[in-house]
């Protein structure tokens, strides 16, 4: 078992530094062998031990009255009351998706689902947050098609509805797409299943699929230990089997409910290594595992391959010793492997045997605890790119009037509105979600595209559904352009937007799972972005009382610029947030409901100039002026909380009939979206004269973002009560904008002196909005 001195190349191939290798040797008191070096390589990776981000993650609030399980377990768990417990988590599969988009994305779905049902929860919903380059790029179209097909394949087959998500397209992600998947599950076991191994001598069961050489693409195999055959046979990316996973879900839940399982851990990154080490470390014990008992799908594998294999759909269970046969029977009934592969030992080590000999033996503390930690220094001042970007102000834009703006040619505001609706980031995502089964399980209350957040009914199996069932709402959000321009404000905005989206369906925001997608932290700019974004997330989570219960960190995401130089992606801290809906009949969607309903804007009024409303970092600036610059809107927490509370209260009381937050494209785009979704136009009267001497620009009025704004519509019969409530709760931070039109009437936005700033038919608006993505995809076919 004794290792020999590893070469620089071998060390580097495991992603370790020379200093880290020296530390491994110090801890072991000897050189590691090949298998052990591989184990350290994965366990000391950022993915497993957060060596760069841990000091930053520490500032996140993780406690709260509803938090039952915080960071550290397979998933976070919150108490929804009424005996309902919700497990949820987000995870990335960026790199595998860049290499092989279909399987990369598919196994991303499989991995996060295992995190959920490992806790004893039945998965009830999936969401995804995706980033791609521009669809004009054929490579992006290939990645985009592959990722959507992969998510669709796995999610549909496994029978968990994909109910929501968000997608942005920006050249910053060319060649490095982001695939973040969030899953929610409802606890079915009386106790939450934990991962800490318990009970010396207890058997350790390996269950699920077989182990092969898949998923080991990152490491080099230039070692005498490996046969030529094994090198040739090694696929680079894991291959998922959603059918097997579906059976694994049912078998695991049945096994957990039997009470015969004392601990469970799914096998994700570094499968057997990570699961044994984490289970042992969390239980303060050791695990001995015999590789000869592991069911394999390939012959001639060596310990290194067993230990680092990322074959999918596998789990490790610690069982009650006298109930092993019962458990094996459950798994076999579902056609799955279940074998006793080892046992819990008192010595705190992971001891791996192979062909009758110890193939690896490492103290669990060395693998899982006291892992390397890199405290980095923040640069003394913000990086140059940010300071330069902040110098931008709207004064640099061409002069504009009520008639439009001169950009190359004169553009009316109608033109601008349609151009923005045609931006794939804003346009309809129907082409995507139509490929996802979003209704399986019969609990999807609001369909994708109909509301600002997904809403899933909660009920216990076997209970007759009632109108008063509670629900859970979920959303994933991050405007990466804001974060790029100002990581601290951008991160705050991501939390604020998530909370606002939940409030728009009537849900009380509860807790957060975050996925930090960043570039290299070893570069000063990258670390500044990461540190500032974490500071913003932490502060915003405190302000909204939404603790972080777990998440994922994906660093070293880089794209190639036009001259093929590696550039970091936009820093993208994706926020997954869940909220509680006490009664699913008290919710609302984003589209107008009835003619003559009054339309209100909650949040900062349109005539107000404030750092909280900005064209900086806006979709308008990027699409129309081809500029990414300026200060993104500054989050005003106090205003956000008040506006969101009023929105939730209005929905609960039945005053509000539709609610939609103003995000990319500002108020004008939000109005257009509410029209499209409700298939009705609107007549909007602004308080501003067409010829204003004011400093306020028309593009600022129509397309600026921020301001904590929510558009709502209210039945005329409720107007008096509603406005009284607004005056008390929101002071000046609201205004009546107009009223909802008849079916297929136009959207008209008029100045106070009746100048038509925008007047568009529903057909024009819908046509460009609904086909923007499809048109770009089909244009490739004719090439």
């Amino acid at each position: 078992m004794l290792g020999t001195f590893a070469s620089h190349e071998e060390i580097a191939n495991e992603g370790l530094t020379a200093a880290e290798y020296a530390e491994i040797v110090r801890r072991l008191g000897r050189h590691p062998n090949r298998a052990e070096l591989g184990m350290f390589g994965v366990m000391w990776s950022e993915h497993c031990c957060y060596k760069n981000s841990r000091p930053l993650l520490k500032q996140f609030p993780t406690q709260g009255k509803r938090v039952l399980v915080g960071p550290g377990e397979n998933a976070g768990v919150v108490d929804l009351g009424m005996g309902l417990k919700l497990a949820f988590k987000i995870e990335s599969h960026n790199h595998p998706s860049a290499v092989e988009p279909f399987q990369g994305a598919a196994t991303g779905v499989g991995g996060i689902l295992r995190d959920i049902f490992t806790m004893g929860a039945r998965p009830i919903a999936l969401l995804n947050s995706l980033r791609f380059g521009a669809l004009e790029d054929p490579k992006t179209r290939r990645l985009f098609n592959g990722v959507i097909s992969g998510i669709s394949h796995y999610g549909n087959c496994v029978g968990v509805p994909t109910v929501g998500g968000e997608v942005y397209f920006d050249p910053a992600y060319s060649g490095n797409p982001l695939v973040n998947v969030m899953a929610l599950g409802l606890l079915e076991t009386p106790e939450i299943v934990k991962s800490g191994a318990v009970g010396i001598g207890n058997p350790v069961l390996y269950v699920g699929s077989t182990t092969g050489r898949d998923g080991m693409g990152g490491a080099s195999f230039a070692s005498a230990e490996l046969s030529q055959e094994s090198v040739e046979d090694r696929p680079a990316v894991q291959v998922g089997d959603p059918f097997l996973e579906k059976s694994l879900i049912e078998a695991c839940l049945e096994a957990f409910k039997s009470g015969a399982v004392v601990a469970a851990q799914d096998m994700g990154a570094a499968g057997i290594t990570c699961s044994t080490a984490e289970m042992a470390a969390k239980g303060g014990v050791g695990i001995a595992l015999d590789l000869d008992r592991i069911p394999v799908r390939e012959q001639g594998m060596v310990p290194y391959e067993y230990l680092l294999s990322e074959s999918q759909e596998r789990m490790l269970l610690v069982a009650q010793p006298d109930r092993v046969q019962e458990l094996i029977a459950i798994f076999e009934r579902w056609g799955l492997h279940a074998i006793v592969a080892g046992n819990v030992i008192s010595e705190p080590v992971v001891r791996i045997s192979f062909q009758g000999e110890v193939a690896a033996e490492v103290p669990t503390s060395a693998l899982v605890e006291d892992t390397p930690l890199y405290q980095r220094e923040l640069p003394g001042e913000p990086p140059t790119y940010a300071r330069q970007a902040w110098e931008w102000t709207a004064d640099r834009l061409p002069v504009c009037t009520a008639g439009g703006i001169e950009v190359q040619a004169n553009q009316t505001w109608n033109d601008v509105l349609l151009l923005l609706l045609d931006s794939p980031t804003i346009a309809s995502k129907r082409w995507i979600y139509r490929q996802y089964d979003h209704q399986v399980q019969n609990n999807t209350v609001l369909l994708p595209g109909d509301a600002d957040a997904a809403v899933i009914r909660l009920r216990y199996e076997g209970d007759a559904p009632t109108a008063g069932n509670p629900g859970v709402a979920a959303t994933v959000d991050c405007n990466p352009r804001y974060v790029y321009l100002h990581p601290y404000e951008g991160a705050k905005a991501a939390i604020a937007e998530a909370a606002r989206n939940l409030s728009c369906v009537g849900a009380e925001p509860l807790a957060v799972t975050d996925n930090l997608n960043f570039g290299s932290p070893e570069k000063s700019v990258g670390y500044w972005q990461l540190a500032e974004a974490c500071r913003g997330l932490a502060e915003a989570c405190r302000e909204f009382d939404t603790p972080v219960t777990g998440g994922n960190v994906s660093l070293y995401n880089e794209t190639l610029d036009v001259s093929s130089q590696p550039q970091p992606i936009y820093p993208t801290p994706v926020v997954g947030m869940v909220g509680l809906i006490p009664n699913i009949t008290q919710i609302c969607g984003q589209g107008w409901r009835s003619e003559k309903d009054a339309i209100y804007l909650l949040g900062l009024r349109l005539d107000i100039s404030s750092p909280s409303v900005s064209l900086g970092g806006s979709e308008y600036l990027a699409i129309i002026h081809n500029t990414v610059a300026g200060q993104p809107p500054v989050v005003d927490f106090e205003l956000e909380r008040r506006v969101q509370a009023v929105c939730r209260e209005g929905i609960r009381r039945g005053w509000i009939r539709s609610a939609h937050d103003c995000a990319e494209g500002g108020v004008a785009i939000a109005l257009a979206e509410a029209c499209i979704s409700g298939q009705r136009g609107a007549m909007i009267h602004l308080d501003l004269p067409a010829k204003s001497n004011d400093a306020l620009r028309w593009d600022q009025v129509l397309f600026a973002e921020g301001g904590g704004r929510i558009l709502v519509s209210v039945s005329p019969t409720q107007q008096t009560a509603w406005e009284a409530h607004l005056s008390t709760s929101l002071g000046n931070d609201w205004q009546k904008l107009g009223e909802v039109g008849t079916v297929n009437s136009p959207l008209e936005i008029l100045s106070v002196d009746n100048f038509p700033l925008i007047s568009v038919t529903m057909k024009d608006v819908s046509d460009c909005w609904s086909t923007a993505i499809e048109r770009r995809l089909s244009s490739q076919d004719s090439l």
Partner: protein, 237 residues
């Protein structure tokens, strides 16, 4: 009326059907594991949607060898009700209880949507709670829902009035609103006797007012009403 819902490894709409038959309609309902062979006590057997055995070979291709399938055939032969939804429809064509086959959607993509359907006849238990030519909206969710059969089979289906649901637009079947390219815009067919129904749309997903549409509930209610009637013989041919 006793409902049984077949569970294959990979079925994933089994619980959704139970939500309707057991929880909403309060009918005795049990899950039927694919290895079971005795389902004699059941009045209606439902083969739900999902991906039985992963559907890696061909949708429904492996399921036909399950022990329960023999029992399902006997159940059908005895004139009792068999309902195959989505993957269940695919299985019914694989085992020959219904003619034709379901192949990849015309656009090659999985489609999850709500689509209008025209009820082609309302004189069978399945459809007796609909009015003649009523247009209903049901959810679909499939990658292989394009109904395909040879011309003779299609003619027989038409002549025997075995087509119960067609994709339509404002009551008229059309290419534009046929989501998957099905021949003759077929969304659901029954056997000649009328006791076996296969359909790609999901009636169980449109049965709960809280979730939106309820056009699927009438199909189940029609069955309940038929419980007291003699089993239909012949299908109007």
């Amino acid at each position: 009326m006793k409902f049984g819902i077949v569970v294959f490894p990979g079925s994933n709409c089994d619980r959704d059907v139970a939500l309707v038959t057991r929880d909403i309609l309060q009918q005795p309902t049990r899950m039927v594991w694919h290895e079971e062979t005795d389902i004699a006590e059941l009045d209606v057997i439902v083969i739900p949607g999902g991906f039985s055995y992963g559907d890696y070979l061909r949708c429904g291709a492996i399921a036909q060898f399950s022990p329960v399938i023999t029992a399902v055939r006997q159940h059908a032969t005895a004139g009792k009700f068999v309902l195959g939804i989505c993957n269940g429809f695919q299985i019914l064509t694989e085992i020959g209880l219904l003619p034709g086959a379901l192949i990849r959607n015309r656009n090659l993509h999985f489609i999850c949507d709500r689509v209008p359907l025209r009820v082609e006849r309302s004189d069978l238990p399945w459809t007796q709670n609909y009015s003649p030519a009523q247009v209903i909206t049901l959810p679909i969710a499939h990658g292989e829902g394009c109904y395909h059969a040879d011309q003779d089979t299609l003619k027989q289906l038409e002549d025997n009035r075995q087509i119960l649901f067609r994709y339509c637009d404002d009551g008229e079947p059309s290419e534009a609103t046929n989501p998957n390219g099905s021949m003759h815009h077929i969304a659901g067919i029954c056997n000649k006797q009328g006791n076996v129904l296969g359909m790609m749309p999901h009636p169980e997903r449109a049965a709960d007012p809280v979730l939106g549409g309820t056009d699927g509930l009438a199909l189940f209610q029609g069955l309940l009403a038929a419980a007291t009637l003699p089993v239909p013989t012949g299908a109007g041919c």
